[in-house]
Amino acid sequence: MAIIVVDVMLKPEILDPQGNAVAAALPRLGFTFAKSVRQGKRFEIEVEGDPTPAQLAEVEKAAERLLSNPVIETYCVRVEN
């Protein structure tokens, strides 16, 4: 069994209000390490056995069509065992 992980992030040039709010809150709690914060989404897709290249290609398609909004977001597909 493997998990295909899809990370979806706002494109770098798109304003990220959620990340900004977190970045502003961190120093208030004494955490001063962050130069900036961006918040994204992570999907974990469970599949039987090792994913085939064809399966990964399908996930890529799904990531583009459903999991992300290509107008404002990018995605990245990887496999975790």
């Binding site: 959620q18 900004n20 709010a21």
Partner: protein, 222 residues
Amino acid sequence: MRVGVITFPGTLDDRDAARAVNLSGAQAVSLWHAEADLKAVDAVILPGGFSYGDYLRCGAISRFAPVMELVIEAAGKGMPVLGICNGFQVLCESHLLPGALTRNSDLHFLCRDVEIEITNNETVWTTSFTQGEKITIPLKNGEGSFQCDDETLAQLEDQGRVIARYVGNNPNGSRNLIAGITNERGNVVGLMPHPEHAINELTGPSAQGLGFFTSILQAMVK
């Protein structure tokens, strides 16, 4: 009788909560999130809204506001605290109340009048109601689905700490139709629907929400 109403950046229903407090006969006192000062209030309301935009998680950032440190301390000593909607979420994030509020089951923001049943009229915020009284007040939120683990749920039910339940259809997927809960001591109450928007029939569906505000007045006068 002074009731504090906290304003966080992004709080929306603070003026409405203050109006309800004043109408019930108490005096509303405005509290600012960044000031570590409770201004000698006898009780505190955390009103609805989208504090800090509700980014990260609803209520997650407000929980660390300077004024909240004092509220958490005072609540531990028995001060009455009512969290409405976003305020309920802040109370959960502060661990003054168990569980969490998650996205509505149909994933939409929902603004609708709902009927709720008062299932515990012994907290300081619910004494004006009769046990089992049904009232109609507005519900308006995107993340109002009350969730907790089975053990916590059993505890809440066994100890009679569910103070209000939705009647009829479940509007948001809350476990056991829970609309509001209290802590063990009964001084801290979280409520998802908005009693401050039901203080007269001109601007709300009923005047039945006033009971929460008259309750606290009675409790403090005693």
